[in-house]
């Protein structure tokens, strides 16, 4: 048998094209090399050649799963440059959409993880629940993916039926607590596949700069929503789940608990939503200068740097996504694991290579 086993660029376990080459000894993995770049579409280059309104739609397509995160961070960077205040109602709507996106992203991930360990029924259950979130997002934004909700100074669409949003959040919370979390944590075959697999210790997570749920599953309590609150997060009551084990099961549990917390956040944000305008005007002039913005996306910290010369086209847009930080830890985690674990371990960081490649 050939000693190097390529996984990808097109592989059933991978949603996206990228390649892991495994130096194997039978089924045991000795070393892994990751190749990315299949999704490189030169988005930053394009962003420097389009005006700010066009760039909003462009950065939304950095990633189809966490699209809202990108427009939100980009808008926040522009607001910082322009010195614009976002109306309170718009802030609440932003938080609702932001957390709804976290819900669908985490449910999607839970489904993919179940699929990767061959647990089709659980995959279907997660995706069936996810459809509720998709309906919510479609009702609010008019599209299931790529919501186009944010713009500098506010949001584009109002939430007309807050009752429905709160009810959906509650239904998802109940279903998570009653169905999905118990199966993931107690089912014996799931435990056999996930517990103790792909361990990333706290020190390694720190040294390799892991972000988001991956870091939190390794015992690092880091979350931008707590560390540097944006929008209305400083006024909301929510927990940041942290697990010390650092294995795949811990990552599952952290994300599952985050879903529950996100539902609580949505309920609170809808509850306290004030009346008022939802934006601060249509075309907001962006003066010369530079700004950074960062927020906590579903996969971890998303970072934007925008430089402007005062025209309507940015000088530079720099995007750093969480997978860029988390991806190298895969090579660390798959060592001395079996071949069967590799798809699961790579999936456990919730990789988004279209984010990383841009």
């Amino acid at each position: 048998m050939s000693p190097v086993i390529p996984v990808g660029p097109y592989h059933p376990a991978l949603e996206e094209p990228y390649k892991i080459e495994l130096d194997c000894d039978g089924e045991a993995v000795r070393e892994a090399h990751i190749t990315v770049g299949f999704n490189f579409r030169a988005i930053e280059w394009l962003a420097e050649r389009k005006n700010y309104t066009q760039d909003l739609a462009l950065v939304e397509r950095v990633c189809g799963i966490c699209s809202n995160v990108h427009t939100l961070t980009f808008s926040r960077a522009l607001e910082q440059l322009a010195g614009v205040e976002v109306p309170a109602r718009a802030q609440h709507i932003r938080v609702v959409v932001h957390e709804a996106e976290r819900l669908h992203s985490h449910l999607l991930w839970a489904g993919i993880a179940a699929e990767v360990i061959g647990f089709q029924t659980l995959f279907m259950t997660c995706f069936a629940l996810r459809e509720k979130v998709m309906d919510l997002l479609e009702a609010v934004s008019g599209n299931r993916v790529n919501y186009a909700m944010n713009k500098p100074g506010g949001v584009t669409r109002d939430i007309v039926d807050p009752g429905m949003v709160a009810a959906t959040a509650q239904a998802i919370r109940t279903a998570m607590e009653r169905e999905i979390i118990p199966v993931f944590t107690t089912d014996r075959t799931v435990r056999a596949r996930c517990a103790g697999v792909g361990v990333l210790t706290r020190d390694e997570a720190l040294a390799w700069g892991a972000l988001g749920p991956v870091a939190r599953a390794s015992g690092l309590p880091q979350d931008i929503r707590k560390a540097a609150p944006y929008e209305i997060y400083d006024r909301l009551d929510f927990e940041v789940p942290v697990r010390p084990e650092g294995d795949v099961l811990a990552r599952i549990v952290v994300r599952a608990l985050e879903i529950v917390e996100s539902c609580r956040i949505i309920e609170q944000a809808v509850d306290g939503m004030p009346a008022g305008p939802i934006d601060a005007g249509d075309f907001i002039p962006v003066p010369a200068g530079e700004a950074c913005a960062r927020i906590e996306g579903p996969r971890g910290e998303v970072f934007y740097y925008v430089a402007s010369d005062g025209s309507d086209v940015p000088l530079r847009v720099r995007i750093r996504t969480p997978t860029f930080q988390n991806m190298p830890t895969v090579a660390l985690m798959v060592r001395e694991q079996t071949l069967a674990d590799v798809p699961l371990i790579q999936a456990s960081i919730d990789p988004c290579y279209s984010c990383t490649d841009r």
Binding site: P9, Y10, H11, P12, E15, E16, P17, G37, F38, N39, F40, R41, A42, I43, W45, L46, R49, A57, L58, R61, V62, C63, G64, I65, S67, L108, G111, F123, M124, F127, A128, R130, E131, M134, N143, R144, V145, N146, C352, S354, D357
Partner: protein, 147 residues
């Protein structure tokens, strides 16, 4: 002979297997395609299966604007699918490169590289639109795929 012909045609209509190829897409279309498998849409009711190996497939579903790095894979995969076969372009990206038009690393649109039979518009298309597009493709497949 006629009986066999119509049996073959019916079987192609009832059992289209897909191979999905992400040619630099943003994941939006890919996730909506996965959503088609799930309980609400369940494309298995039409006999559709998402296959891991291109050699098993009848319909190639392409999403994304075809980046420079995925072009070679796209051509290989197309050659690996046995005839008759049909190509479905998912979303605006393979149709026109969408927002990525003009990027130096994008070689699309897809019809420059492969013959495309069905376009499904949307960014991304809704699952019911994807199913409608695949249904179009099935009709073409029953007639023996594209020339």
């Amino acid at each position: 002979m006629r009986l066999i012909d119509s049996l073959v045609r019916t079987s192609r209509r009832r059992s289209p297997w897909l191979f999905h190829l992400n040619a630099g897409s943003c994941n939006g279309c890919d996730i909506e395609l996965v959503a088609c498998l799930t309980p609400r849409y369940d494309v298995e009711q039409l006999g559709i299966r998402l296959e891991g190996s291109p050699r098993h497939a009848d319909i190639i579903v392409v999403s994304g604007p075809v980046t420079r790095t995925t072009r070679a894979a796209l051509e290989t995969v197309y050659a690996q699918v046995p005839d008759p076969k049909v190509v479905v372009a998912l979303g605006s990206c393979p149709a026109s490169c969408n927002v990525f038009a003009g990027s130096p690393t994008v070689e699309g649109p897809l019809d420059r590289i492969l013959p495309v039979d069905v376009y499904v518009p949307g960014c991304p298309p809704r699952p019911d639109a994807i199913i409608a597009g695949i249904a179009e493709a099935i009709a073409l497949l029953a007639e023996g795929g594209h020339a």
